[in-house]
């Protein structure tokens, strides 16, 4: 934290945050406490909405890491959502408790991402984007051709029927909340590490970063693998939260659309942005749900408008105006009095 940064007698000092870390810390503790006991104090339908909200937060945080910090616009992250779901299904069919398969599915997605990076990281910009989609389409077609998983029609998730419905709802909520917490805190720690500095240097000037000895390719590879693992975890909790796993739903490009819009509207390149974007998305979706897919039309248009006129997103605009950060990952130069 910024408290133990050595301070020089004269001249500017470098700080993490312009506001007191105590504010963010106490706020975080209250929120973490609330969400940990939420299934016991909020109505059951609320906790299912919250669960879907956390799944979106996981995905959007991972997409933000890819695009907002490492400059990789993936439109194929649903590949890892689907693979995470199916890894969970595989172990559950083998008799493992579905909740215990979540870390396994996460690791499998990370391992599968390694060979994929060797193909995809040869491409840049838009070519990278569409190639990620080809990879996800290929994964969908391969999984859909495996009879063990029920082919294109899908399969019921086994191993959850021994619990009562309300017990299952509680457990899946807590699992989702825990994964979301790990993903957000993990991303925060990752971006405050040396890798975070490396990513910032690539984002600001790739050529300068290279000449300063930054290994751009390996930084990108690492981020891609982390994002694959995170989306795999999201897929795994998705599989546990809905009884039926179907290729066309878990590999749906709509996941990519949601995570992209949410990150853009909330604010790319900030930890808080995707969380705020997800909250806006759920508010909009819940209030417009009787009007079909209009929420996606509105949300997509809003994302286009924000990309063109407010590229730092709503949180970025707020931060620029009020110089406030809740979860700072950068550094500030401060003139000492």
């Amino acid at each position: 934290m910024s408290l133990d940064t050595p301070r020089r007698e004269v001249g500017p000092s470098v700080r993490r945050s312009s506001t007191s870390p105590l504010f963010a810390l106490s706020g975080s503790i209250i929120l973490i406490g609330f969400f940990s006991v939420a299934p016991w104090i909020v109505p059951a339908e609320w906790s299912s909405v919250l669960m879907n909200f956390f799944i979106l937060v996981i995905m959007a945080t991972m997409w933000n890491l890819l695009a907002g910090y490492a400059g990789m616009v993936s439109i194929g992250q649903q590949a890892f959502i689907g693979l995470g779901s199916y890894a969970t299904l595989y172990f559950a069919l083998k008799g493992v408790n579905p909740f215990l398969t979540i870390p396994l599915a996460t690791m499998i997605c990370a391992v599968l991402a390694v060979p994929i990076t060797f193909l995809l990281l040869r491409l840049r910009g838009g070519y990278f984007s569409i190639a990620t989609w080809v990879v996800s389409d290929t994964a969908l077609l391969i999984i859909g051709a495996i009879a063990y998983f029920g082919g294109g029609t899908g399969k019921l998730m086994p191993g959850l029927q021994y619990l009562s419905p309300s017990q299952t709802a509680h457990d899946t909520y807590l699992a989702t909340w825990f994964v979301a917490l790990v993903v957000v805190v993990g991303t925060y720690v990752l971006l405050r590490s040396r890798l975070g500095l490396v990513l910032a240097s690539i984002r600001d000037n790739e050529v300068a970063a290279r000449s300063a000895g930054v290994n751009v390719q390996s930084a990108r590879r690492l981020i891609f693998i982390v994002a694959a693992a995170g989306c795999g975890a999201a897929g795994a909790v998705l599989a546990v939260s809905q009884p039926f796993i179907q290729p066309s739903s878990v590999f749906n490009i709509q996941w990519a659309a949601e995570m992209i819009f949410v990150s853009m509207i909330g604010g790319l390149g900030t930890i808080e942005g995707p969380i705020i974007g997800s909250a806006i998305f759920f508010t909009l979706q819940q209030s417009l749900q009787q009007y079909g897919v209009w929420y996606l039309v509105i949300f997509g248009s809003l994302a286009v408008v924000i990309a063109l006129w407010q590229p730092r997103g709503l949180w970025g605009a707020f931060r620029d105006r009020y110089h406030t950060e809740l979860l700072p990952v950068g550094y500030h130069l401060r003139e000492e009095k």
Partner: protein, 290 residues
Amino acid sequence: MIWINVVIQGVLVGGFYALFACGLSLMFGVMKVINLAHGDMAVVAGYVAVFLTPHLHIAEIWSLLVVVPLFALVGYVLQRTLIQKSIDRDPFTTLLVTFGLSVVIENLLLEFYTANAQTVNVGALGYESWHPGSIFFISYVSLGVLVAAVAVLAVLQLFLSHTGTGRLVRAVADDREAAQLSGANYRHIFGIAAAIAFATVALAGIAYGMQTQFAPTSGGVNLLFAFEAVVIGGIGSLWGTLVGGIALGMAQVFGAHFNPEYQRLAGNVLFLLVLAVRPRGLFGKTTSVS
């Protein structure tokens, strides 16, 4: 014998993919923009042909004469407004904006025209085919699309290499600032390139509707095929795109021969193989992707 059929059907499908891909290739070559809404534009052209031309009391096949110029105009306007604005920011923004457009278009089509599949009605012509051998058949519509694709590619090539405007397009593609300094208005030239790209995508969309059914969500898969054709053939080569389209078409027909579900998979596998073994494609001159 199946091999001859694979080649014939592959060439026919490949011509269609090349027609689809040349607009994508042109926009990338000139503006360095990957239009992620490219496939959806084609679907919109199909919907315009099916739902709006009946009001003009002409056969759906002649909707080409209305829709293609209309799309050229739409392309010019969209380029001068939204796409130019995003180019002025950075390449990253062009991806986000065109992806946003793509999702908005798909969902608007779903709202207005439901998820039901549509076709562009060409009457009895749609069922007729030429049988040069006992087991081969060549659909007249597919053959027409292949001829149209080759014609479009040839006209585009001639336009780019032999006309004044074509020279301007190439100049702006090479170095837009230098072209601007020499008196070319690069934004206008970008608009012209987008108009051509949108005209070809409208043609491709209607051709698609004549051959098969389409729905609001068909755009995505078509964008994938067009993109695969461009990368397999080699970025920056118009005739390479035709060869890439044909290679993709043959791989798909070959896959479908074993199992209809393997059609798309075989194409994707060919694409990933090319990416692994020869990332600049079959005819790519430079490694402009990386």
